[in-house]
């Protein structure tokens, strides 16, 4: 039941991303933040198919080939899972912030690689990397995505993340 609920939230994030939080309004990458949160807290056997399907909703509104976002999301989930396991294994706030920032950069690189791979193999040319990185939204994403991930942890995944909770409380005490 909880997994179904999370899947519905993921789809809602995808639709809100397209119809509300697009470049015309702040450039917040809600879907990426939720994908990262799922990758850090849920079983990969649930996360992979869920983000794979959400990628197709995102691709409804891309001039890229249908399926590119799904490829990016599933690859990103695997990279985050490996990164979380080997390098940033605890769910401390600092690690989540680093993962959030890295995930935004990796997501853009994956888009660049997969789009250009598809364009190169199908059309015989490639797109300029500048168009993937030089938007103001990219900088904003680097700052805002970790904050949204922390928000998701606090709202949706706090029961499953005791370590995070303790860290949060410790930091909250400092701010107090």
């Amino acid at each position: 039941m909880r997994k179904f609920f999370l899947f519905i939230i993921l789809l809602a994030c995808a639709i809100i991303q397209l119809s509300f939080l697009n470049p015309s309004y702040m450039g917040v990458n809600l879907i990426l933040a939720f994908v990262i949160a799922l990758a850090l807290t849920q079983e990969i056997s649930f996360t992979l198919p869920a983000v794979w399907f959400a990628g197709f909703i995102i691709d409804l509104n891309k001039t890229l080939y249908f399926g590119i976002s799904s490829l990016v999301f599933i690859t990103l989930v695997v990279i985050i899972t490996l990164g979380h396991r080997f390098f940033l294994s605890s769910r401390r706030i600092k690690n989540i912030i680093i993962l959030g920032i890295l995930a935004v950069i990796i997501e853009r690189i994956l888009f660049l690689v997969f789009v250009n791979l598809a364009v190169l193999l199908k059309e015989g040319f490639y797109e300029s990397p500048a168009s993937f990185f030089n938007t103001f939204g990219f900088l904003l994403e680097l700052i805002i995505t970790p904050i949204i991930i922390l928000g998701f942890f606090k709202l949706l995944f706090k029961d499953s993340v005791q370590e995070f909770k303790q860290e949060w409380q410790k930091n909250y005490q400092i701010f107090k």
């Binding site: 509300f20 001039t63 490829l71 899972t81 797109e127 939204g137």
Partner: protein, 264 residues
Amino acid sequence: MNLNRSGFLIFLSLFFLTFSIVFFDQSKVVATSHSIIATSSAPFQILISRLRDFYTFWTDALFNIRELKLKNQELIQKNLELESALADISDLKSENESLKKQLNFANEYRRNLIGANIISRDYQNSRSFIIDAGALDGLAVGMTVLAGGGNIVGQIILANERTSQIRAIFDTGTKISSVTQISRVAGLTRGLGSDLILDLVPKSQDLGIDETIISSGQDGIWPKGLVVGKIAVIESGQNQIFKIAHLKSLIDWSRLEHVFIIIP
């Protein structure tokens, strides 16, 4: 959370399945799946985009009252000026029509337009939009999409039953045979992903900053006389054969909510 053997197998299966979808995106199975997902998610997209419009309208109204008031006064002044200019233009128009009659000119091409609302956008850049009108409303692939004032927004690249996808003018797939409005210098407008350039302009031709670029209609794809943008920067390297002009679009993309589609 752990990437175990089964997780890795799921990843590989999904990866190769998606790779096949990307490479066979023109196949009927992929097109049908795309259409089903688009049709079933359209009502939610329309709902969320209406909420966004409502939210944007009221936040704009609340936070920009002073600016709106000043703009209103400015527009009233501009309106008065335009009304006096209009009187001159109507004289010229009647004169032009009588001259055309005398010279047996064919009737001008009148555009048949359909209005639609933008219900979602590409979230990483403004290269793609979805509108709430589709094949059932008479839209088809290749039709030109405009904003107010005859400014080109893009072209329809996919027409589902009730929604359509527009490729924005900035997309790398956009190529428009263009001409400067006053000096009639020809070139090719190309999208660079997040920028627009006027390319293939011979070095001997003069271009001016802020000059308006319009479609020439010579490519047989984009109708003649539509506004592409204005020249912002001109580049002319010593070793280059052609000049390049970077264009700025006249559309406020962040506030673009309604578009018009030209029905041929």
